[in-house]
């Protein structure tokens, strides 16, 4: 609760709304105590006095009545009516919703069908029909507005109740022999009450506005009694000659509704768990770059990641997802990057083309060089021209990585059209060809399928076809086979291997599975807590792992190429990259750990191509 209030008031706008609303409510509560003139006493001699005249702070209306007094009385009435309507609607609506949700079955069905029908009306038609039947008048307007809002509460509360009615504590109460009424009142109601209150707080502004609206139309409060709506309605005939009589009540309605809206937004935001954790990622087209430190010199590799640092800046905290990673590939080479989830391997991969969600992602150091050219902080258009054309990605889980509303043919064609000026028909022909290349049968008809019409393996082939669309030099494959079963996985790996041999592709293969690495990769780099802890030719690392972590990883693989596995056999969890321990990050889980391991920075050492980041390696490298 206190976090909630803190969040609410951290939101300056919500606080402003609360203050305005509090001032208005206090003012109308104090009306009987204030030295106001009688709001209904007419004085035709004093008609249309302008604001700030003596004795009439806000002037007078067309009958010479004091506007300030009428405004405060009117506000009082409007607020009271709006709140009353909200209370009535909430009470009746919630009761209906709880009954429907609790009893379910036929009762639920009939009630919810009626509610649906009531909601099929534009709300004012229903309100007008009710007022027409009952006759104009403030009470009838109140009834109409309350009635119109009942379905809203009924539907919302029913949803919550249905969820609760299936829970154990309700069953337990039933078994204990409690009656329906008691279960509803003592078990259900306390649980739905907060939802009712929130729903009320978001609709009360509406109801104030709606009752004011009916009064404005002359269907609500009748003279001489006035709420804000009827004040505005009466003032309308003199609007052009004496606008202040309209502006005064109109502004008041505006202030009330706005402050309630501000407060409501604040409440909603404060309750939103995603905002609470501050973890909302935002939609920039490339990852933010705030690079400090030296920029490494170019090398002659095709793609080189050099001392890359990528962080997530969430609120005041910095999560160091990648802490100084260097990797490189040459044409035709396949490099495996292996690690548990959270080791920073995917973030490393995404950093290459600036695809880390940003904010919160920020690249804070190092370089990514494609043919020697540094891409970190390169202009958007430079990066875009490389994306897909020179460096392409294959992602995990193609159901979420393919657009659900475009056919796969369109998505493939688009990949080509983004980089080449060719006709639509030509692009489609190429798309079919690509589908054939990745061995999708019936490519001509498959090209018009939507992703949801394909199997997982088929979709992943589409993902690969898309990566191949512009014949890139480098493919970065981020766990492309994790979601697939073993046979399909083997086919996909074979396909990638063929492509690399046929086309001289360089592949960076991100995975958590040593089996896959063994099948496909020439070299492998093992990542832990955002850094490389060991690297070397695949066979060398597999035969003689030097880092205790690598050794355990390999020990976890019962049989190479056996499909998906979690690294559950290593006791303990990978560290949270926000507060890394000093020294070796693996120390808490390592059984060879010594005092010296925790003492300070440990370098990645060895004779190329082998290297290891460990003081007491299993093997000398």
């Amino acid at each position: 609760m206190s976090t909630f209030l803190k969040l609410l008031f951290r939101n300056r706008l919500a606080a402003m709304g609360a203050v305005i609303l509090a001032v208005i409510v206090l003012a109308v509560l104090a009306v009987p105590l204030l030295p106001l003139q009688d709001p209904d006493v007419t004085a035709t001699a004093d008609r249309f006095k302008r604001p700030f005249t003596d004795g009439h702070l806000l002037g007078t209306d067309h009958l010479g009545r004091d506007l300030l007094s009428r405004l405060l009385h009117g506000t009082r009435l409007s607020l009271a009516i709006g709140v009353a309507a909200a209370l009535i609607a909430a009470t009746i609506g919630s009761a209906i919703g709880i009954i429907a949700g609790y009893f379910g079955g036929r009762t639920d069905n009939i009630i919810m069908r009626t509610v649906d029908m009531l909601m099929a009306f534009p709300y004012i038609l229903l309100a007008l029909a009710i007022v027409a039947a009952l006759g104009p008048g403030l009470m009838n307007a109140l009834i109409a507005v309350a009635a119109v809002n009942i379905p809203f509460f009924a539907r919302n509360i029913r949803g919550i109740t249905v969820g609760l009615a299936g829970r154990e504590f309700i069953d337990a109460a039933r078994l204990a022999g409690m009656g329906h009424a008691r279960i509803i009142l003592t078990e259900l109601l306390p649980n739905v009450l907060p939802v009712i209150v929130i729903a009320m707080s978001t609709t009360v502004g509406w109801m104030i506005l709606e009752t004011a609206g009916l009064s404005f139309l002359g269907l609500g409060s009748q003279p001489p009694q006035a709420d804000l709506g009827s004040m505005l309605g009466e003032a309308r005939s003199a609007m052009i000659s004496h606008p202040h009589t309209s502006i005064v009540p109109g502004l008041m309605i505006f202030l009330i509704v706005m402050s309630i809206n501000l407060l409501g937004d604040g409440v909603r935001d404060a309750l939103d768990p995603r905002l609470r954790s501050g973890a909302l990622s935002r939609p920039l087209p490339t990852t933010l770059v705030e690079r400090s430190g030296d920029i490494p010199e170019p090398t002659d590799d095709l793609l080189a990641i050099q001392d890359l640092h990528t962080q997530f800046h969430v609120g005041a905290r910095n999560y160091r997802a990648v802490g100084g990673v260097s990797l490189a590939v040459r044409p035709g080479e396949c490099l495996g990057v292996i690690g548990e989830s959270g080791s920073g391997k995917s973030v490393t991969a995404l950093s290459v083309m600036g695809l880390v969600a940003s904010p919160p992602g920020v690249i804070t150091g190092g370089a990514v060089r494609y043919q020697g050219e540094d891409l970190i902080g390169a202009p958007y258009e430079t990066l875009r021209k490389k994306r897909g054309d020179h460096v392409a990605y294959i992602f995990q889980d193609p159901l979420s990585t393919l657009h659900p509303l475009y056919s796969v043919g369109d998505q493939l064609a688009e990949a080509i059209l983004s980089h080449h000026k060719i006709g639509k028909a030509e692009a489609r022909r190429r798309a079919i060809e690509l589908l054939r290349d990745v061995r999708i049968p019936n490519a001509e008809s498959r090209v018009d399928n939507y992703p949801h019409e394909m199997s997982g393996g088929m979709r992943q082939r589409v993902g690969i076809a898309m990566a191949l669309a512009n014949e890139p030099d480098v493919i970065i494959a981020d766990e492309p086979t994790t979601a697939l079963d073993v046979t399909v996985q083997a086919q996909i790996l074979a396909l990638l291997d063929d492509l690399r041999r046929d086309r001289g592709l360089a592949i960076v293969f991100i995975t958590h599975d040593f089996g896959v690495v063994a099948q496909l990769c020439d070299r492998v780099a093992v990542m832990y807590a955002g850094r490389i802890v060991e690297e070397g030719p695949t066979t060398a690392v597999l035969d003689a792992p030097a880092h205790p972590y690598t050794k355990r990883l390999i020990a976890c693989v019962p049989e190479l190429g056996g499909g998906r596995r979690e690294l559950a056999a290593i006791p303990g969890l990978p560290p949270v990259v926000s507060d890394l321990p000093a020294g070796c990050a693996f120390a808490p889980r390592c059984d060879k750990a010594q005092e010296s391991c925790r003492a300070g920075e440990i370098d990645l050492k060895g004779s190329a191509p082998r290297a290891v980041r460990c003081l007491y390696p299993e093997e000398a490298v």
Partner: protein, 315 residues
Amino acid sequence: MGSYIFKRLISAVPVLLGITIIVFLIMSLIPGDPATAILGSYATPENVEKLNRDLGLDKPLVQRYFIWLGNMLTGDFGRSFSLNRPVLDEILERFNATLILAGTSFVICSLLGILAGVVSAARQYGFADKAITFVVLIGISVPSFFLGMMMILLFAVNLGWLPVSGMYAIYGGGDLPDLARHLIMPATALAAVATGVIARLSRSAMLEVLRQDYIRTARAKGVPERRVIMGHALRAAMVSIIPVLGIQAGFVLSGAVYIEIVFQWPGVGRMLVDAILTRDLLLVQGGVVFVAACYVLFNIAVDVAQSLLDPRIKT
């Protein structure tokens, strides 16, 4: 596609029936004798009795409902006593004006709202986002009838740019430019709240979509950002925006009642308010049923649009 539309139309029948039942029940709530209520307390007993017979008020409730329903299905909505003409003729004439006003408003709020939401989301926390958020907050907080009055004061009275009210100029009007000049203010005032609501929703829908993996895929293959936003992201966001457009159309239709009063627009909303004040209940009853039925049909069109957009919906 055709069979989907047909299915949706069939499924609307019970809703339409429900609407007539609800309106009928509300109208039978009238305290006392409806004929007296309609004719006023000065009515002669003969007149009251005649009206009772005309309305079938001497028959039981259920039977009365079916007579009324049957009459409506044959296009007989009864006769308005205050206007002395068939209710349906009056409604059709008035509904035309409302359709022009609400339709224009709906187009304005949809286009402007979605555009504002998209810009806001693409520039999250930037200047444009903050400016739009501020304007939207004002827009959804100002009552449309007050906004309409202030617009009249500013643009019609003080600046003299636009006519104060009405649908056509009394002399020499009647053509399209004349209608447009009269339409600008009421349509904008009516669109304000809905624009704000749609902008807010579009913004959050876009932000939700921009976090999706398929947006990253689009960027990874080098699709230009403009197309990522206006194509990939907006298309996916439309799946959650379109139902809200349907709901907002109902609010626009509702708001039209106020706007028609403020701008003296000869639409169905003003007709309903006048009818309530003159106790012309047959006109109210007919008008409410007619407009509600149109709204139900409009929502079917919304569903069809949704199914065209989203291939995952089984048609």
